[in-house]
């Protein structure tokens, strides 16, 4: 069974640009969670999608947004990038109470 996949592995952008990160969940999982792991800030919950709808979001500004497609894959968009957005972005798909994480996308904002 294939695990959670994320693309790209690395992404380099300049301040003010937009970044798009993608996540494919494990087959059969309908929930996708996004987390940010920034240096010094730990792992923070970003967004939760379930059955195509945004169900909840963490304490992040509106320029962090995303969507979930009919096949349950998900996209995270970060607009107007700031230097402090540099982080590892982790996606997790969920079945019942267990979350399975992908390898992450390392976003670097210059």
């Amino acid at each position: 069974e294939a695990g959670v996949t994320q693309s790209p592995t690395h992404l380099i952008k300049t301040r003010g640009q937009q970044a798009t990160l993608r996540c494919s969940p494990i087959s059969g999982h309908t929930s996708v969670y996004w987390y940010q792991q920034a240096l010094g800030l730990g792992l923070q919950f970003l967004l939760w999608y379930d059955e195509g709808e945004e169900r909840n979001r963490g304490n992040f500004p509106p320029r962090f947004s995303g969507r979930q497609f009919p096949n349950y894959s998900s996209e995270l968009n970060v607009n107007a990038l700031e230097l402090e957005d540099s982080a590892l972005y982790l996606c997790a798909s969920s079945l019942l109470y267990e979350q399975f994480f992908g390898p992450g996308t390392r976003l670097t904002v210059l």
Partner: protein, 114 residues
């Protein structure tokens, strides 16, 4: 709201020695507890979880943890560590409701030396 405290930011230990990584949580409702491991430049891998039942939980790679409700703790243990166990370990909590965002501790770096 839930919170997790991992008091030890770094734990150095010699190979084949036992280790305990501490985790305490706070919550006003019932919780599920998890330990994840993160190797450099990788995502998180689930080591073990406590959902209900026996308070002693066994996971992968020889790790185990004990849920102590009275002390609100979920400490991770391994009787004999290997060099390959060097990694960052995260304790996490979520509630048994529909919305299950994970709240993570700040992590403990386990450094195993020969």
């Amino acid at each position: 709201a839930q919170s997790v405290t991992q008091l030890d930011s770094q734990v150095p230990v010699f190979e084949e020695a036992p280790v305990e990584l501490r985790c305490n949580y706070s919550s006003s409702v019932s919780v599920y507890l998890f330990w994840y491991v993160q190797y450099p430049n990788q995502g998180l891998q689930l080591l073990l979880k406590y959902l209900s039942g026996s308070t002693l939980v066994k996971g992968i790679n020889g790790f185990e943890a004990e849920f102590n409700k009275s002390q609100t703790s979920f400490h991770l243990r391994k009787p004999s560590v290997h060099i390959s166990d060097t990694a960052e370990y995260f304790c996490a909590v979520t509630t048994n409701t529909g919305f299950q965002k994970l709240v993570f501790g700040t992590g403990t770096r386990l450094l195993v030396s020969p």
